[in-house]
Symmetry: C2
DNA sequence: CCGATATAGATGTATATGCATCTATCTAGC
DNA sequence: GCTAGATAGATGCATATACATCTATATCGG
């Protein structure tokens, strides 16, 4: 009964986007009780790992346009999760996790881990690892 | 010149979304001269393959919420690409490619094929195929 | 037939996303 | 020090995306 419920698509990009949409719903469902969106969780986690980084650098880490970050960060800043300060280069905004951002990440982590664990079990660790590697290779292939 | 690599992310979903963003830019860059977005191309192609389908069915094929389709289809209908008619069940909207939609798809296909071919060459056919298969498995795993 | 319930899609709202363009700032060359 | 070009991020705009809720229609048990 694990038959293909969705038909294959000829487009590589469409296949990946479809998986991305489906996956996002699963992760967001787990985070919804916290009022946290997937992208926001990703930014919290990325900042936690990267420490203080300029906005453009965060954009490169996430392969996300810096101007997209402007809007999402504004939402997160309103909630007190993000601290911004100017570097020596006055054009740069250096970002870091504020205390409430760290707390929010900590609250979210158990839910995130449960989703990850469940999915990993269903896909199998080997497939999971291959897929992660491939996804990163694809990102690198098309990132200049 | 050595490529700046993106760091691995701990989140499966974030990795996939990142690859999805990067890939989308490549495909959309190729389609931009036609004023065609990636999602729109995907819908044209899906309808071309599926024939006449109700909106909900198209949503299941693309793992996309039916209400998301409402907005995107409205844009495409305005351009004359999509034909809608009611089925015996008056709640259903049955969708199909209109002539201009077929023409638009035909115009886009060579550009799409070039991007696909280039990416396939860079990733290698084996990796490409595995990745497509995995992506579909992920979609099926999380689609109820 | 009738009311209860289910389903298809539309609408309100909020976020995600990127490009074109703009402003402020920096840097290189003079 | 000045100016021309480069760079960081903000802003205007359009599309993508989904959930909660609403409306119209269908179906099912009496």
């Amino acid at each position: 009964m694990s038959k293909s419920l969705v038909p294959p698509l000829p487009c590589f990009c469409a296949s990946l986007r479809r998986a991305s949409r489906a996956l996002t719903q699963v992760y967001e469902q787990a985070l919804r009780p916290l009022g946290l969106r997937g992208t926001q969780f990703t930014i919290l986690q990325a900042l936690s790992l990267a420490g203080e980084v300029p906005q453009g650098e965060l954009g490169r880490i996430l392969a996300m346009d810096s101007t997209t970050l402007t809007r999402t960060l504004e939402i997160m800043r309103r909630r007190g999760w993000i601290a911004t300060r100017y570097g020596k280069d006055r054009r740069e905004r250096r970002l870091s996790l504020a205390r409430p951002g760290e707390a929010e990440l900590k609250r979210a982590l158990p839910r995130w881990e449960r989703v990850q664990a469940r999915l990993r079990r269903r896909l199998g660790t080997k497939r999971w690892n291959s897929f992660m590697t491939f996804a990163n290779q694809v990102t690198n292939e098309v990132t200049e």
